[in-house]
Protein backbone atom coordinates (compact mmCIF):
# COMPACT_ATOMS: atom_id res chain seq x y z
CA UNK A 1 0.00 0.00 0.00
CA UNK A 2 1.17 3.49 -0.77
CA UNK A 3 2.15 5.61 2.21
CA UNK A 4 -0.17 8.52 2.91
CA UNK A 5 2.80 10.71 3.78
CA UNK A 6 6.03 10.48 1.88
CA UNK A 7 9.06 12.72 2.28
CA UNK A 8 12.33 12.20 0.50
CA UNK A 9 15.38 14.41 0.95
CA UNK A 10 13.32 17.33 2.28
CA UNK A 11 15.27 20.45 3.15
CA UNK A 12 13.90 23.67 4.61
CA UNK A 13 15.71 26.81 5.69
CA UNK A 14 14.36 30.07 7.09
CA UNK A 15 16.86 32.65 5.91
CA UNK A 16 20.27 31.45 7.00
CA UNK A 17 18.87 28.91 9.40
CA UNK A 18 18.70 25.36 8.02
CA UNK A 19 15.83 23.81 9.97
CA UNK A 20 15.33 20.57 8.09
CA UNK A 21 18.40 18.99 6.53
CA UNK A 22 17.34 15.99 4.53
CA UNK A 23 14.23 14.28 5.88
CA UNK A 24 13.10 10.86 4.61
CA UNK A 25 9.86 9.65 6.11
CA UNK A 26 7.02 7.40 5.05
CA UNK A 27 3.86 7.01 7.07
CA UNK A 28 1.29 4.37 6.12
CA UNK A 29 -2.38 5.30 6.39
CA UNK A 30 -3.90 4.88 9.84
CA UNK A 31 -0.64 5.04 11.76
CA UNK A 32 -0.16 7.25 14.80
CA UNK A 33 3.32 8.73 14.83
CA UNK A 34 4.76 10.77 17.69
CA UNK A 35 7.53 13.17 16.83
CA UNK A 36 9.86 14.02 19.71
CA UNK A 37 13.08 15.96 20.04
CA UNK A 38 14.60 19.11 21.52
CA UNK A 39 13.19 22.57 20.77
CA UNK A 40 14.37 23.91 17.47
CA UNK A 41 15.03 20.45 16.07
CA UNK A 42 12.58 20.98 13.21
CA UNK A 43 9.52 19.10 14.52
CA UNK A 44 7.11 21.96 14.04
CA UNK A 45 8.60 22.80 10.66
CA UNK A 46 7.88 19.26 9.56
CA UNK A 47 4.20 19.76 10.44
CA UNK A 48 4.11 23.14 8.70
CA UNK A 49 5.37 21.49 5.52
CA UNK A 50 2.86 18.66 5.82
CA UNK A 51 0.06 21.22 6.32
CA UNK A 52 1.39 23.09 3.23
CA UNK A 53 1.75 26.29 5.25
CA UNK A 54 5.34 26.37 3.97
CA UNK A 55 6.94 24.68 1.01
CA UNK A 56 10.13 22.63 1.04
CA UNK A 57 13.23 24.20 -0.49
CA UNK A 58 14.30 20.84 -1.84
CA UNK A 59 13.13 17.26 -1.93
CA UNK A 60 9.88 15.41 -2.44
CA UNK A 61 6.80 15.80 -0.26
CA UNK A 62 3.68 13.82 -1.11
CA UNK A 63 0.34 13.54 0.62
CA UNK A 64 -1.65 10.52 -0.51
CA UNK A 65 0.58 10.18 -3.56
CA UNK A 66 0.34 13.81 -4.66
CA UNK A 67 2.73 16.72 -4.33
CA UNK A 68 0.88 19.85 -3.20
CA UNK A 69 3.30 22.18 -4.95
CA UNK A 70 3.60 20.56 -8.36
CA UNK A 71 1.05 19.05 -10.71
CA UNK A 72 1.15 17.07 -13.87
CA UNK A 73 0.02 19.01 -16.88
CA UNK A 74 0.49 18.10 -20.52
CA UNK A 75 2.73 15.26 -19.48
CA UNK A 76 5.22 17.31 -17.47
CA UNK A 77 5.52 18.57 -13.88
CA UNK A 78 4.39 22.18 -13.51
CA UNK A 79 4.08 24.44 -10.50
CA UNK A 80 0.71 23.69 -8.90
CA UNK A 81 -2.15 26.14 -9.22
CA UNK A 82 -4.33 27.21 -6.28
CA UNK A 83 -6.93 24.57 -7.06
CA UNK A 84 -4.46 21.70 -6.99
CA UNK A 85 -2.85 22.97 -3.80
CA UNK A 86 -6.23 23.17 -2.07
CA UNK A 87 -7.26 19.75 -3.31
CA UNK A 88 -4.17 18.22 -1.64
CA UNK A 89 -4.40 20.49 1.41
CA UNK A 90 -7.96 19.27 2.02
CA UNK A 91 -6.61 15.87 2.99
CA UNK A 92 -4.76 17.31 5.95
CA UNK A 93 -5.94 19.01 9.13
CA UNK A 94 -3.99 20.60 11.93
CA UNK A 95 -4.38 21.58 15.56
CA UNK A 96 -2.05 24.33 16.76
CA UNK A 97 -0.25 24.98 20.00
CA UNK A 98 -2.02 28.30 20.46
CA UNK A 99 -5.42 27.04 19.25
CA UNK A 100 -5.83 29.82 16.67
CA UNK A 101 -9.58 29.92 17.08
CA UNK A 102 -11.39 32.71 15.26
CA UNK A 103 -12.16 35.13 18.10
CA UNK A 104 -15.08 36.79 16.33
CA UNK A 105 -17.03 33.54 16.00
CA UNK A 106 -18.72 31.34 18.57
CA UNK A 107 -17.40 27.81 19.14
CA UNK A 108 -20.16 26.49 16.89
CA UNK A 109 -19.32 28.90 14.09
CA UNK A 110 -15.62 28.18 14.39
CA UNK A 111 -16.45 24.57 13.58
CA UNK A 112 -19.07 25.39 10.96
CA UNK A 113 -17.14 27.95 8.94
CA UNK A 114 -15.08 25.61 6.77
CA UNK A 115 -17.95 23.13 6.52
CA UNK A 116 -19.98 25.89 4.89
CA UNK A 117 -17.29 27.60 2.82
CA UNK A 118 -15.01 24.72 1.87
CA UNK A 119 -17.15 21.58 1.90
CA UNK A 120 -20.20 23.68 0.96
CA UNK A 121 -22.52 21.68 3.18
CA UNK A 122 -26.06 22.99 3.59
CA UNK A 123 -26.43 25.07 6.72
CA UNK A 124 -28.53 22.58 8.69
CA UNK A 125 -26.15 19.75 7.90
CA UNK A 126 -23.09 21.84 8.78
CA UNK A 127 -24.65 22.83 12.08
CA UNK A 128 -25.62 19.24 12.89
CA UNK A 129 -22.11 18.02 12.19
CA UNK A 130 -20.54 20.86 14.16
CA UNK A 131 -22.75 20.19 17.19
CA UNK A 132 -21.98 16.51 17.00
CA UNK A 133 -18.23 17.20 16.92
CA UNK A 134 -18.49 19.61 19.83
CA UNK A 135 -20.36 16.97 21.86
CA UNK A 136 -17.69 14.44 21.00
CA UNK A 137 -15.08 16.68 22.66
CA UNK A 138 -17.39 17.34 25.61
CA UNK A 139 -18.44 20.87 24.72
CA UNK A 140 -22.08 20.48 23.69
CA UNK A 141 -23.07 23.18 26.18
CA UNK A 142 -20.44 25.68 25.00
CA UNK A 143 -21.53 25.85 21.37
CA UNK A 144 -22.59 29.49 21.62
CA UNK A 145 -19.64 30.69 23.69
CA UNK A 146 -17.00 32.92 22.13
CA UNK A 147 -13.37 31.83 22.46
CA UNK A 148 -12.62 34.66 24.89
CA UNK A 149 -15.00 33.03 27.36
CA UNK A 150 -13.50 29.55 27.15
CA UNK A 151 -10.62 28.09 29.16
CA UNK A 152 -7.45 26.98 27.37
CA UNK A 153 -8.50 23.35 27.51
CA UNK A 154 -11.93 24.18 26.12
CA UNK A 155 -10.40 26.26 23.33
CA UNK A 156 -8.16 23.39 22.35
CA UNK A 157 -11.16 21.06 22.30
CA UNK A 158 -12.98 23.42 19.95
CA UNK A 159 -9.88 23.52 17.75
CA UNK A 160 -9.79 19.72 17.67
CA UNK A 161 -13.51 19.54 16.85
CA UNK A 162 -13.00 22.15 14.13
CA UNK A 163 -10.19 20.19 12.47
CA UNK A 164 -11.93 16.81 12.84
CA UNK A 165 -15.20 18.06 11.37
CA UNK A 166 -13.42 18.40 8.03
CA UNK A 167 -12.69 14.65 8.12
CA UNK A 168 -9.11 14.89 6.93
CA UNK A 169 -7.12 11.77 6.15
CA UNK A 170 -4.15 13.11 8.06
CA UNK A 171 -4.29 15.04 11.32
CA UNK A 172 -1.34 17.00 12.61
CA UNK A 173 -1.01 18.04 16.26
CA UNK A 174 1.63 20.64 17.03
CA UNK A 175 2.41 20.59 20.77
CA UNK A 176 -1.26 21.01 21.47
CA UNK A 177 -0.89 20.78 25.25
CA UNK A 178 2.09 23.12 25.63
CA UNK A 179 0.01 26.24 26.18
CA UNK A 180 -2.36 24.60 28.67
CA UNK A 181 -2.40 24.67 32.43
CA UNK A 182 -1.04 21.37 33.77
CA UNK A 183 -4.39 20.17 35.13
CA UNK A 184 -5.96 20.46 31.66
CA UNK A 185 -3.31 18.44 29.83
CA UNK A 186 -4.61 15.03 30.85
CA UNK A 187 -8.04 15.55 29.33
CA UNK A 188 -6.64 16.62 25.98
CA UNK A 189 -4.21 13.70 25.87
CA UNK A 190 -7.07 11.32 26.66
CA UNK A 191 -8.97 12.79 23.72
CA UNK A 192 -5.96 12.23 21.45
CA UNK A 193 -5.66 8.69 22.70
CA UNK A 194 -9.31 8.03 21.94
CA UNK A 195 -8.84 9.33 18.38
CA UNK A 196 -5.72 7.31 17.71
CA UNK A 197 -7.24 4.10 19.03
CA UNK A 198 -9.91 4.24 16.31
CA UNK A 199 -7.20 3.85 13.66
CA UNK A 200 -9.31 5.67 11.09
CA UNK A 201 -6.98 8.61 10.63
CA UNK A 202 -3.29 9.03 10.20
CA UNK A 203 -2.00 11.14 13.07
CA UNK A 204 1.30 12.94 13.42
CA UNK A 205 1.76 14.27 16.93
CA UNK A 206 4.56 16.59 18.00
CA UNK A 207 4.73 16.27 21.77
CA UNK A 208 6.86 16.62 24.84
CA UNK A 209 4.86 14.00 26.75
CA UNK A 210 7.08 10.96 26.52
CA UNK A 211 4.74 8.65 28.38
CA UNK A 212 1.93 9.65 26.08
CA UNK A 213 4.15 9.07 23.04
CA UNK A 214 5.09 5.69 24.40
CA UNK A 215 1.63 4.47 25.26
CA UNK A 216 -0.41 5.94 22.42
CA UNK A 217 1.66 5.80 19.26
CA UNK A 218 2.53 3.05 16.85
CA UNK A 219 5.80 4.69 16.12
CA UNK A 220 8.11 7.34 17.49
CA UNK A 221 10.40 9.56 15.43
CA UNK A 222 13.26 11.34 17.19
CA UNK A 223 14.38 14.60 15.60
CA UNK A 224 17.57 16.46 16.32
CA UNK A 225 19.21 19.34 14.47
CA UNK A 226 17.00 18.98 11.43
CA UNK A 227 17.44 15.26 10.80
CA UNK A 228 15.64 12.13 11.90
CA UNK A 229 18.06 10.46 14.27
CA UNK A 230 15.97 7.48 15.12
CA UNK A 231 12.64 6.07 13.99
CA UNK A 232 11.02 3.00 15.45
CA UNK A 233 8.54 1.38 17.79
CA UNK A 234 7.94 3.33 21.05
CA UNK A 235 9.45 0.56 23.17
CA UNK A 236 12.64 0.54 21.13
CA UNK A 237 13.05 4.33 21.22
CA UNK A 238 12.41 4.69 24.91
CA UNK A 239 14.05 1.53 26.23
CA UNK A 240 16.66 0.42 23.73
CA UNK A 241 17.67 3.50 21.77
CA UNK A 242 20.33 2.74 19.24
CA UNK A 243 21.78 6.24 19.18
CA UNK A 244 23.56 8.08 21.91
CA UNK A 245 21.67 11.31 21.16
CA UNK A 246 18.31 9.59 21.55
CA UNK A 247 19.42 8.06 24.82
CA UNK A 248 20.56 11.39 26.20
CA UNK A 249 17.32 13.11 25.19
CA UNK A 250 15.08 10.38 26.60
CA UNK A 251 17.13 10.21 29.80
CA UNK A 252 17.06 13.95 30.23
CA UNK A 253 13.28 13.99 30.06
CA UNK A 254 12.29 10.72 31.71
CA UNK A 255 15.29 10.46 34.00
CA UNK A 256 17.73 7.54 33.71
CA UNK A 257 16.31 4.05 34.30
CA UNK A 258 12.85 5.29 33.56
Amino acid sequence: MNPIIRLRGVHKAYGELAVLRGIDLEVPAGQTVSVIGPSGSGKSTLLRLLMTLDRPDQGVLEIDGESPWTMEKNGSQQPADERHLRQVRGKVGMVFQHFNLFPHMSALHNVMEALLRVLRLPRTEAEARARERLSAVGLADKADAYPAHLSGGQKQRVAIARALAMQPKVMLFDEITSALDPELVGGILALLHEMSSKRTMTMVIVTHHMRFAESCSDRVVFFDEGVIVEDGAPKAIFHEPRHERTRRFVDAILGPEA
Binding site: M51, T52, L53, E82, R86, R89, G90, V92, G93, M94, F96, H98, N100, L101, F102, P103, H104, M105, E113, A114, R117, V118, Y146, A148, H149, R162, A163, M166
Partner: protein
Protein backbone atom coordinates in the same frame (compact mmCIF):
# COMPACT_ATOMS: atom_id res chain seq x y z
CA UNK B 1 -19.98 94.76 17.37
CA UNK B 2 -22.95 93.14 19.04
CA UNK B 3 -24.17 89.65 18.26
CA UNK B 4 -27.64 90.04 16.73
CA UNK B 5 -29.61 87.00 17.84
CA UNK B 6 -32.59 87.81 15.66
CA UNK B 7 -30.39 88.09 12.58
CA UNK B 8 -28.67 84.83 13.47
CA UNK B 9 -32.04 83.13 13.83
CA UNK B 10 -33.17 84.46 10.43
CA UNK B 11 -29.99 83.21 8.79
CA UNK B 12 -30.27 79.73 10.22
CA UNK B 13 -32.61 78.17 7.59
CA UNK B 14 -30.22 79.09 4.78
CA UNK B 15 -27.31 77.62 6.66
CA UNK B 16 -29.23 74.47 7.51
CA UNK B 17 -29.96 73.95 3.83
CA UNK B 18 -26.26 74.35 3.06
CA UNK B 19 -25.43 72.00 5.90
CA UNK B 20 -27.31 69.29 4.01
CA UNK B 21 -24.88 69.72 1.12
CA UNK B 22 -21.91 69.54 3.48
CA UNK B 23 -23.23 66.42 5.21
CA UNK B 24 -24.10 64.76 1.90
CA UNK B 25 -20.60 65.45 0.57
CA UNK B 26 -19.09 64.00 3.75
CA UNK B 27 -21.25 60.89 3.85
CA UNK B 28 -20.78 60.10 0.16
CA UNK B 29 -17.09 61.01 0.24
CA UNK B 30 -16.55 58.77 3.26
CA UNK B 31 -18.38 55.91 1.59
CA UNK B 32 -16.00 56.22 -1.35
CA UNK B 33 -13.01 56.53 1.00
CA UNK B 34 -13.98 53.47 3.06
CA UNK B 35 -14.62 51.22 0.07
CA UNK B 36 -11.74 52.43 -2.08
CA UNK B 37 -9.42 52.53 0.92
CA UNK B 38 -10.12 48.87 1.63
CA UNK B 39 -9.54 48.01 -2.02
CA UNK B 40 -6.24 49.94 -1.95
CA UNK B 41 -5.14 48.19 1.24
CA UNK B 42 -5.88 44.79 -0.30
CA UNK B 43 -4.14 45.71 -3.56
CA UNK B 44 -1.17 46.93 -1.55
CA UNK B 45 -0.93 43.44 0.02
CA UNK B 46 -1.35 41.66 -3.28
CA UNK B 47 1.12 38.99 -4.26
CA UNK B 48 1.24 40.60 -7.70
CA UNK B 49 4.25 42.85 -7.46
CA UNK B 50 3.18 45.35 -10.12
CA UNK B 51 -0.18 45.85 -8.40
CA UNK B 52 1.32 46.23 -4.95
CA UNK B 53 3.93 48.74 -6.11
CA UNK B 54 1.65 50.85 -8.28
CA UNK B 55 -0.86 51.00 -5.41
CA UNK B 56 1.85 52.07 -2.98
CA UNK B 57 2.89 54.77 -5.47
CA UNK B 58 -0.67 56.01 -5.84
CA UNK B 59 -1.21 56.18 -2.07
CA UNK B 60 2.05 58.06 -1.57
CA UNK B 61 1.21 60.48 -4.39
CA UNK B 62 -2.22 61.29 -2.99
CA UNK B 63 -0.93 61.72 0.55
CA UNK B 64 1.90 63.98 -0.56
CA UNK B 65 -0.14 66.51 -2.53
CA UNK B 66 -2.61 69.02 -1.10
CA UNK B 67 -6.31 68.21 -1.18
CA UNK B 68 -7.06 71.61 -2.72
CA UNK B 69 -4.74 70.90 -5.64
CA UNK B 70 -6.46 67.54 -6.16
CA UNK B 71 -9.89 69.19 -6.09
CA UNK B 72 -8.85 71.80 -8.70
CA UNK B 73 -7.12 69.15 -10.76
CA UNK B 74 -10.21 66.94 -10.99
CA UNK B 75 -12.51 69.91 -11.56
CA UNK B 76 -10.54 71.31 -14.48
CA UNK B 77 -9.00 68.16 -15.97
CA UNK B 78 -11.79 65.56 -15.84
CA UNK B 79 -14.07 67.37 -18.33
CA UNK B 80 -11.17 67.43 -20.79
CA UNK B 81 -11.04 63.65 -20.51
CA UNK B 82 -14.71 63.42 -21.39
CA UNK B 83 -15.89 62.91 -17.80
CA UNK B 84 -18.59 65.48 -17.11
CA UNK B 85 -19.44 65.63 -13.42
CA UNK B 86 -21.24 68.27 -11.41
CA UNK B 87 -19.13 70.34 -9.05
CA UNK B 88 -20.66 68.44 -6.15
CA UNK B 89 -19.88 65.02 -7.65
CA UNK B 90 -16.34 66.14 -8.45
CA UNK B 91 -15.97 67.23 -4.85
CA UNK B 92 -17.20 63.88 -3.55
CA UNK B 93 -14.73 62.05 -5.81
CA UNK B 94 -11.87 64.29 -4.71
CA UNK B 95 -12.63 63.89 -1.00
CA UNK B 96 -13.16 60.15 -1.47
CA UNK B 97 -9.88 59.63 -3.34
CA UNK B 98 -7.89 61.76 -0.94
CA UNK B 99 -9.19 60.08 2.20
CA UNK B 100 -9.10 56.61 0.62
CA UNK B 101 -5.32 56.92 0.63
CA UNK B 102 -5.35 57.68 4.35
CA UNK B 103 -7.96 55.03 5.14
CA UNK B 104 -5.93 52.42 3.28
CA UNK B 105 -3.05 53.03 5.69
CA UNK B 106 -5.45 52.57 8.60
CA UNK B 107 -6.75 49.31 7.17
CA UNK B 108 -3.19 48.21 6.63
CA UNK B 109 -2.44 48.69 10.31
CA UNK B 110 -5.55 46.62 11.04
CA UNK B 111 -4.36 43.80 8.80
CA UNK B 112 -0.88 43.90 10.31
CA UNK B 113 -2.44 43.50 13.75
CA UNK B 114 -3.93 40.10 12.91
CA UNK B 115 -1.74 37.31 14.31
CA UNK B 116 -0.15 35.01 11.75
CA UNK B 117 -1.92 32.09 13.45
CA UNK B 118 -5.26 33.32 12.10
CA UNK B 119 -4.02 33.08 8.51
CA UNK B 120 -2.53 29.68 9.24
CA UNK B 121 -5.69 28.34 10.87
CA UNK B 122 -7.66 29.50 7.83
CA UNK B 123 -5.19 27.74 5.52
CA UNK B 124 -5.27 24.59 7.62
CA UNK B 125 -9.06 24.55 7.22
CA UNK B 126 -8.50 24.91 3.48
CA UNK B 127 -10.41 28.19 3.22
CA UNK B 128 -9.83 30.01 -0.05
CA UNK B 129 -7.92 33.28 -0.02
CA UNK B 130 -11.20 35.06 -0.71
CA UNK B 131 -12.94 33.54 2.30
CA UNK B 132 -9.85 33.92 4.48
CA UNK B 133 -9.78 37.65 3.84
CA UNK B 134 -13.53 38.17 3.77
CA UNK B 135 -14.59 35.97 6.67
CA UNK B 136 -11.56 35.76 8.96
CA UNK B 137 -9.23 38.71 8.43
CA UNK B 138 -11.44 41.71 7.61
CA UNK B 139 -13.97 41.12 10.42
CA UNK B 140 -11.11 41.10 12.91
CA UNK B 141 -9.05 43.87 11.31
CA UNK B 142 -11.75 46.52 11.12
CA UNK B 143 -13.20 46.88 14.64
CA UNK B 144 -9.87 47.94 16.18
CA UNK B 145 -9.38 50.65 13.54
CA UNK B 146 -12.89 52.12 13.70
CA UNK B 147 -11.69 54.99 15.92
CA UNK B 148 -8.92 55.85 13.45
CA UNK B 149 -11.37 55.72 10.55
CA UNK B 150 -13.73 57.88 12.58
CA UNK B 151 -11.04 60.51 12.97
CA UNK B 152 -10.81 60.72 9.20
CA UNK B 153 -14.59 61.06 8.96
CA UNK B 154 -14.42 64.14 11.17
CA UNK B 155 -11.35 65.42 9.33
CA UNK B 156 -13.12 65.05 5.99
CA UNK B 157 -16.17 66.83 7.34
CA UNK B 158 -13.96 69.75 8.28
CA UNK B 159 -12.31 69.74 4.85
CA UNK B 160 -15.60 70.15 2.98
CA UNK B 161 -15.26 73.98 2.86
CA UNK B 162 -12.51 73.40 0.30
CA UNK B 163 -15.25 72.39 -2.11
CA UNK B 164 -16.28 76.03 -2.18
CA UNK B 165 -13.20 76.51 -4.37
CA UNK B 166 -15.03 74.69 -7.15
CA UNK B 167 -18.34 76.50 -6.62
CA UNK B 168 -20.06 73.98 -4.36
CA UNK B 169 -22.42 75.94 -2.13
CA UNK B 170 -21.60 74.15 1.07
CA UNK B 171 -21.87 75.53 4.59
CA UNK B 172 -18.95 77.97 4.72
CA UNK B 173 -19.55 79.35 1.25
CA UNK B 174 -23.19 79.96 2.14
CA UNK B 175 -22.14 81.76 5.32
CA UNK B 176 -19.86 83.98 3.28
CA UNK B 177 -22.59 84.71 0.78
CA UNK B 178 -24.93 85.76 3.58
CA UNK B 179 -22.16 87.97 4.94
CA UNK B 180 -21.53 89.57 1.58
CA UNK B 181 -25.21 90.30 1.04
CA UNK B 182 -25.88 91.82 4.47
CA UNK B 183 -22.41 93.09 5.43
CA UNK B 184 -22.77 91.13 8.66
CA UNK B 185 -20.24 88.33 8.96
CA UNK B 186 -20.24 87.75 12.71
CA UNK B 187 -23.51 85.84 12.99
CA UNK B 188 -23.31 83.60 9.89
CA UNK B 189 -19.66 82.67 10.44
CA UNK B 190 -20.25 82.00 14.13
CA UNK B 191 -23.16 79.76 13.23
CA UNK B 192 -21.06 77.96 10.62
CA UNK B 193 -18.43 77.23 13.25
CA UNK B 194 -21.05 76.15 15.78
CA UNK B 195 -22.70 73.81 13.29
CA UNK B 196 -19.35 72.20 12.44
CA UNK B 197 -18.65 71.80 16.14
CA UNK B 198 -22.02 70.22 16.94
CA UNK B 199 -21.88 67.76 14.06
CA UNK B 200 -18.28 66.79 14.79
CA UNK B 201 -19.21 66.02 18.39
CA UNK B 202 -22.23 63.99 17.30
CA UNK B 203 -20.16 61.95 14.82
CA UNK B 204 -17.46 61.31 17.41
CA UNK B 205 -20.10 60.02 19.85
CA UNK B 206 -21.63 57.85 17.11
CA UNK B 207 -18.24 56.34 16.32
CA UNK B 208 -17.64 55.49 19.97
CA UNK B 209 -21.00 53.73 20.09
CA UNK B 210 -20.22 51.78 16.93
CA UNK B 211 -16.84 50.81 18.32
CA UNK B 212 -18.45 49.35 21.44
CA UNK B 213 -20.94 47.34 19.42
CA UNK B 214 -18.27 45.92 17.12
CA UNK B 215 -16.13 44.81 20.03
CA UNK B 216 -18.82 42.69 21.68
CA UNK B 217 -16.99 39.40 21.11
CA UNK B 218 -13.85 40.58 22.85
CA UNK B 219 -13.38 39.44 26.46
CA UNK B 220 -14.92 41.78 29.01
Amino acid sequence: MIFDWQFAWDTLPKLMAALKVTVAATVLGMAVALALGLALALARRSRLQWLSWSTAGFIEFVRSTPLLVQIYFLFYILPGLGIELSAFATGVVALGLHYAAYCSEVYRAGFDGIPRGQWEAASALNLSRYHTIGRIIIPQAIPPVVPALGNYLVAMFKDTPMLSAITVLELLQTGKVVGAETFRYLEPLTLVGALFLVLSLISAAGIRGLERRLQKWVAQ
